[in-house]
Symmetry: D2
Subunit: 258 residues, 4 copies
Amino acid sequence: MTVYETALGASTPDTITLLGQDLARDVMGNVGFGELAFWLATQRRPSPGETRVFEAVLAALADHGFTPTAIVTRLTYLSAPDSVQGALAAGLLGGGSRFLGVTEDASRFLSSVVRSAELPADDDGWDALALETLRARGKARIPGLGHHVHKNGDPRTPRLFQIAEEEGLLGPHLSLFAAIGRVHPRVLGKTLPLNGAGTCGAALADLGLPLELLRGFALLARTAGLIGQLAEELRNPVANDIFLSVDTNTRSIAPAEE
Amino acid sequence: MTVYETALGASTPDTITLLGQDLARDVMGNVGFGELAFWLATQRRPSPGETRVFEAVLAALADHGFTPTAIVTRLTYLSAPDSVQGALAAGLLGGGSRFLGVTEDASRFLSSVVRSAELPADDDGWDALALETLRARGKARIPGLGHHVHKNGDPRTPRLFQIAEEEGLLGPHLSLFAAIGRVHPRVLGKTLPLNGAGTCGAALADLGLPLELLRGFALLARTAGLIGQLAEELRNPVANDIFLSVDTNTRSIAPAEE
Amino acid sequence: MTVYETALGASTPDTITLLGQDLARDVMGNVGFGELAFWLATQRRPSPGETRVFEAVLAALADHGFTPTAIVTRLTYLSAPDSVQGALAAGLLGGGSRFLGVTEDASRFLSSVVRSAELPADDDGWDALALETLRARGKARIPGLGHHVHKNGDPRTPRLFQIAEEEGLLGPHLSLFAAIGRVHPRVLGKTLPLNGAGTCGAALADLGLPLELLRGFALLARTAGLIGQLAEELRNPVANDIFLSVDTNTRSIAPAEE
Amino acid sequence: MTVYETALGASTPDTITLLGQDLARDVMGNVGFGELAFWLATQRRPSPGETRVFEAVLAALADHGFTPTAIVTRLTYLSAPDSVQGALAAGLLGGGSRFLGVTEDASRFLSSVVRSAELPADDDGWDALALETLRARGKARIPGLGHHVHKNGDPRTPRLFQIAEEEGLLGPHLSLFAAIGRVHPRVLGKTLPLNGAGTCGAALADLGLPLELLRGFALLARTAGLIGQLAEELRNPVANDIFLSVDTNTRSIAPAEE
């Protein structure tokens, strides 16, 4: 008989445990939600500093206004108001390679360098490693570099570096990313900002979170944002106007293959 | 030209705001994730006490082990490991009337009484209101009463009442629910526990969160739980064993209508 | 040991069966896709006439242009082009009570009458039953009556009645619906068209398909439509324009609770 | 003002068109559902032979019994019976790289050869091209070769070749795939069957369907299968037994990082 093991939730008639803790006594009322999400993903309780960096990343990714995912959640709720779970799920399904690609790609790129190099001891060392990395990369795009709106700098980037530094959690991924920010003009011949999405990826990697699930944390943040979108839709509906703005500007054309 | 208004995320080349705050300066590093989720849903910053009650509810709902939603997320990841968003969305789609019904039904039931009655000043008054309510309800099931495993009491229930009381947030929904716990044996002729899911519904209603979206908060909690399930699946895979346990015990039968 | 029985797909090293048939020899090349979908849902092979009515309903529901579900699928593909399954699933999640409500509500309404009445032998009898039903219903909306665009008649309605009649499949649900179309002006004091969605619901009910899954057939039809939407998006993309039309007309406002 | 063009569904107060046809008069009652799905995806009406091959592929992929996707749909319906769309969407979300990889990979692999080679005139020529292709590929797995159950041959494979040949639609992708079936023992030193999933991919490519959406056709077929699974679940429920078989064999273990 197969036995399925889990260290997550479990219950008996008299007790409920989560991650080996007594849920009611030790978790409820004592563990914040960001802290718990980190703990669930790593099975290790984060320090207060790790929680602060993690929650700063979640805040950075929670909501960016009328993105495609927000529009999708609102339109799905318009069509199927009986299913809040469907509206949230539909929005999350937009969390793929384009929307979340930068965060993932940046962390994978940085991680591939960090894992195979000897880690430098100071900024000059990081700059040398960054230069070598960028030169070896040739003309390939550098994930996390550049932003189509925040051309002079993404406000989230210096803030996240600051928080990580305050908490003593500025690890190798953020260090390498910062060095790339310093040296890339010498390789590319132009200066681009380090964007917030890439910085979030570097910060999550420095926290030791599993790279395969980085996308999951962005989706967790976005779930909170999409609930905010639905709450605002209830208060001040716009989904039908969005639909009508498409519907009234539609033109019927002949099929492609005729 | 239609204009779409939002108080959520917005950005200009130099700034990013969220809920009217400067995201980088005022939110990142200063606002916890549970606090932010509450704020996004209500557009009102919660007090520390409200945040604590809210996060206790989220902890209570985050993960219950190998529930259908957890199994669904693991099996979907097995079939489509390229899409973390699909695995999470699939799990959330189980967050409907049966799985989350108690939380929603309890809060709607309590809210319907609270809105239409004059609120009592003391426990005797609440008991009288509870008695009257249960008698008027006749034989209909009372949402939030009873639990198939925790027959002698759900450990989450007293803990959530305690936390709400500590924070001065034991409002009318929790008060009425507690009174139902006290008086129902006189009406039903047997004693049932107040379950944790119903208590969570009462607590969320007392926090003033929109009833239409209560399901959303359970889904937010569950998103963190499902990420934990995926992380555990990566470390210690069981989805294929679950699949095989079904597959190897399958019997092919004749169609129903032959 | 639990055994899981199914009459659907099964295989051994040398054979594959589906619905008790040899899949390769008897189904592939011999059974059309609409016919197979009907067979899978009922475990009964439909007659050619039943298949024709069923496929006419699927055609009626497959695509209605830039509906919310079509917009959702296109926007999700824009955000996550790596996941065709996510884009289709997101679109289907809009298939809820508002979008598909008329089809379901009409079939349930008609079915509730048909099951409890003695079935009339001729049109006069149906008219009498329809009159009695509408009068008993009072001011409640009659599902399937009225259309916001096709005010003078929905072109799908007479066609579906014609096809059902040609195939000898004009059963009690369609008969009652037709009678409602004839007599309602006497009760309501105005004339409304029988809409296509309601007629589809009546036709599916006459085919004996399970009412709990009527929504599923509309979703099956829509899956084909959404693949068409994605194919057109690949050829002639509009999702980014839809996104930009919202994004560029956004106004940031103060939070509601400030 | 942006204008959104579509050749799919459109309506005026008096007409409804689909793909440039009068929906009621020309499509309903005249166009089968498989034929319509092909037409929607290509904007070209398929010939009867193309429809037959296409529907044979859909039949081959519609249902394989208690696969992960079928289990997911049943478990989601168990948790959220209010949302048929959620149960179907959850099942479809398993339609990713592992589950549908062979069909996609085979068609992409074959297509990459077919596009860049001069097409042979006879079987000897195809064999030579296949040999050259396999030798150049070295030790990389050949998509579509081998099956873990049907080790002596997948019954769907010869049947699909036969149908394509009967309809004069045995094009370059199927021809190359057949040649790979003949020559691979000379390269690999062992004989493996051409599996049905790979043959379906080759057949869909020969029909000229867009490779980016091949996954979509498998999902369309599976939508019909999942409706069958739900119908059977309504008649003969097993989802709760599957859940209990996991739940009762769960063991709580210590967290990984303690």
